[in-house]
């Protein structure tokens, strides 16, 4: 597992973000699933979401930005209290980020606690 985004996130005090990767075929998805759409396996491991690119962004009343971000090829829905623009490179993190950080940090809820399901979930699966 690459430590780069973890180190970056840790340096900023933020939780790292993870996506879910199939142990059998390495297909990466988010939100996490119970079985792999590509191969049907039900064993997964977390992979750091790492850097992303903003594809679209909108702004809610009150100023929060909601963005569609592509990270590891997967489209995820993130938020930021700072300005974002289409094409921006961002760091996807698992807790609300620092709007002044460079590159901008975007929050992917529910991504900090994706765990290795090879042995902890679905007990009874060989």
């Amino acid at each position: 597992m690459s430590g780069t985004s973890r180190a970056e996130a840790a340096a900023s005090g933020a939780l790292p973000a993870f996506l879910q990767s199939c142990l059998a075929c390495a297909t990466v998805v988010f939100p996490p699933r119970l079985a792999c759409r590509s191969c049907g396996d039900d064993r997964f491991e977390p992979v750091p979401a790492g850097p992303g690119v903003v594809e679209q962004v909108t702004e809610l009343p009150g100023g929060l930005r909601i963005a569609s971000v592509r990270a590891r090829g997967v489209l995820v829905v993130c938020s930021s209290t700072g300005a974002l623009a289409e094409g921006d490179s961002v760091t996807v993190i698992g807790s609300p980020g620092d709007p002044a950080a460079v590159p901008a940090q975007v929050y992917l809820p529910g991504s900090a606690h994706i765990h290795n399901s090879a042995h902890t979930e679905n007990e009874g699966t060989p």
Partner: protein
């Protein structure tokens, strides 16, 4: 056994923005169901099948509603949870039940008492992924998601806010001819464009007003020619497709891209044969997406022309005002189009009647899993003359 299944009657309660305290979901559902049965010229005791869709009927379910409403014994019972796709999902099952002789008279009813508290509960706890990955953004409700989708559609099809405004203002024109719609005052394009932005590019009039109400239809086997007095509408085809792209696409193509060709083949018809269109308009962009998937335009670059044809009402789309102007009565949103298409084809649509409407198409769409809706379905209907 029957070769042909018809909608023999339909009803929609008036929609209201702010329901009185005594109004209940169960009460709305039973009112719509009873009015539909009466409109079909049938008795309550004729009903031997019931299908229900509601977000707020709990803790009751379909069998509780049947019992409390004095229905039974029933031979066919279902409850559908697929939101905007629930009406046509139930229609798909009910049509086969009557065709196979499992039931003779089925009422399908959808609706909700959707006050502010119920709406908040619905959008905050819509599903696991909403609770875990969207509400904590924090973003509540689908507006932000469909703002992002609408941006993608604007880029892909070369559309502007003005094009979406043509749809919203045309539906308001239709709603002005529907006494049951909550918003009937004409809406100008300038008012649409100047309205407060909810999530750019979406403004206030791109978003549906939650309302309380219920819609119902009654299905029976087709009688002998003329038996229904011209008020029966034949179900030619119903098709559903869910989950075409794992929520990792642009959301601009719906399951209709697969379901519609099957429905057209079964009906022996195509989009160009339709006189009335009722598409699920949770947002104007989705109305366009579904019309395109139905085959209403020849090429993607004709989307602006499509918006123009809707805007001038030369193409009759959502002729009761749709959700955008009539209101979104929770789970009834998918049944609203079925009721309206029935009324148009039965020739009882009043001031908004489309002349000589013989064929109509209805779509359902819904269930945002993460980034956009995952369920889509389509029904093709024909007036029985």
């Amino acid at each position: 056994m029957s070769d042909s299944v018809v909608i023999a009657g339909a009803a929609e309660t008036p929609y209201t923005r702010h329901p009185e305290p005594r109004v209940t979901t169960a009460g709305l559902l039973v009112r719509a169901a009873r009015e539909a049965v009466a409109a079909a010229g049938l008795r309550w005791s004729d009903v031997d099948g019931l299908g229900v869709s509601s977000f707020t009927l709990g803790p009751d379910h379909a069998v509780d509603l049947a019992w409390r409403a004095g229905l039974g014994p029933l031979r066919w019972l279902m409850e559908d949870t697929n939101g905007g796709a629930s009406a046509l999902n139930m229609l798909q099952h009910a049509e086969l039940a009557i065709r196979s002789g499992q039931a003779s008279t089925i009422v399908l009813v959808s609706g909700d008492r959707m006050d502010a508290a119920a709406f908040r509960m619905l959008v905050e706890h819509y599903n696991r992924s909403t609770e875990d990955h969207l509400v904590p953004l924090p973003a509540t409700g689908p507006n932000a998601l469909f703002a992002l989708l609408t941006q993608r559609q604007m880029t892909a099809l070369g559309l502007t806010r003005r094009d979406y405004g043509r749809i919203a203002t045309a539906q308001r024109e239709w709603a002005g001819r529907n006494p049951g719609a909550v918003y009937r005052t004409p809406l100008t394009l300038e008012e649409y464009l100047d309205a407060p932005l909810v999530a750019p590019p979406l403004g206030r009039y791109d978003c549906v007003p939650p309302v309380s109400g219920a819609d119902a239809v009654v299905l029976t086997a087709a009688g002998p020619p003329g038996a229904e007095g011209g008020r029966a509408v034949r179900v030619l085809a119903v098709e559903t497709t869910t989950g075409i792209d794992d929520q990792d696409g642009d959301g601009l193509t719906t399951g209709l891209v697969q379901a519609a060709p099957r429905a057209w083949e079964r009906a022996g018809l195509g989009a160009s044969d339709m006189h009335v269109f009722s598409v699920y308009d949770d947002y104007p962009a989705m109305a366009l997406a579904q019309l395109i998937d139905l085959g209403a335009i020849a090429a993607p670059d004709a989307a602006r022309d499509l918006a123009e044809r809707i805007g001038t009402r030369r193409l009759p789309v959502n002729t009761a005002g749709g959700q955008l102007s009539a209101g979104q009565a929770g789970a009834a949103a998918g049944m609203h189009g079925v009721v309206e298409t029935y009324r148009q084809l039965a020739g009882i649509a009043g001031e908004r009647q489309v002349p000589d409407a013989r064929f109509g198409v209805v779509t359902g769409y819904g269930m945002v899993l993460y980034r956009y809706g995952s369920c889509a379905n389509v029904a093709v209907l024909e007036a029985v003359r």
